[in-house]
Amino acid sequence: MKLDQFVLKAHIRFQFDAQDKTDFFKKMVKDISVFHEDFEEERLLELFYLREETMSTGIGNGIAIPHVMYEKCESQEIFVYRLAKPIDFAALDKKPVELIFVMVGAPSPSNIINLQILAKLALMMKHPEFLDKLLSAESEDALFEVLIHYD
């Protein structure tokens, strides 16, 4: 599974401003909706909140991977947010989160592609070198290049 088919350079945000987790989700949903006129922000926000209620998607080491299956999404898309300052995300290791990978996927009976993407992201995040380079990237372009290089 290669991620380059799901993440575009235009989907990467550097120095994204969010005061807290709720603020991040509101701003992120608005940001994503710019790419899709038919997306309903309220519905999308509700889906993200529902997922976070199950368990935080803050997987540790400053990373979160919120994800939803949204009926108006026709494929799978990944958005990357490097925050201007870390925020509390109720992460598993309780550390603040500073890099967020958002996945919005088309629902399907098996959800196989959605699962494959999440598994790939989770595996990539276990690579210390990749993580270091991601967190030290200083622009959208640099983030994108690291992501594609390690894909």
């Binding site: 199950t54 368990m55 998607t57 997987i59 994800h67 598993l92 959800n111 699962l115 999440l118």
Partner: protein, 113 residues
């Protein structure tokens, strides 16, 4: 290589295990080990937080399955065992039922007759 076969049967409807074992016993198949098993998807949804959101998508909501391992002496007995299980348990081709297959046994020690 012996004539013996290993029957591997994973059933998702745990409540049917008793019926399956009784039916096997009735056919004279008296040796089997019963193991608790979890499907990969169930395990990931329950144990790996990133996949917790997929828990609700798992049909049947059965946290564990049962695995029956039985070494039978030959192909004829294997056929009896598989047919017996299917007649009691139902069609394995349906979703959320389980899987049944057999393996040839190369060598065996400790077999009690």
């Amino acid at each position: 290589m012996t004539e013996a076969k290993l029957l591997v049967c994973i059933i998702e409807k745990e409540e049917r295990l008793e019926d399956v074992l009784e039916a096997l016993m009735e056919e004279g198949i008296t040796g089997a080990s019963i193991l608790d098993a979890r499907g990969m998807f169930e395990y990931m949804a329950d144990e790996i937080p990133l996949f917790a959101g997929f828990r609700g998508l798992i049909q049947g909501n059965n946290p564990t399955n049962k695995m029956i391992l039985s070494m039978v002496p030959d192909a004829a007995t294997l056929q009896i065992a598989m047919n017996t299980i299917q007649s009691v348990y139902g069609d394995f081709s349906l979703p959320n039922t389980g899987i049944m297959f057999s393996l040839d046994i190369g060598e065996a020690r400790g077999v009690k007759t």
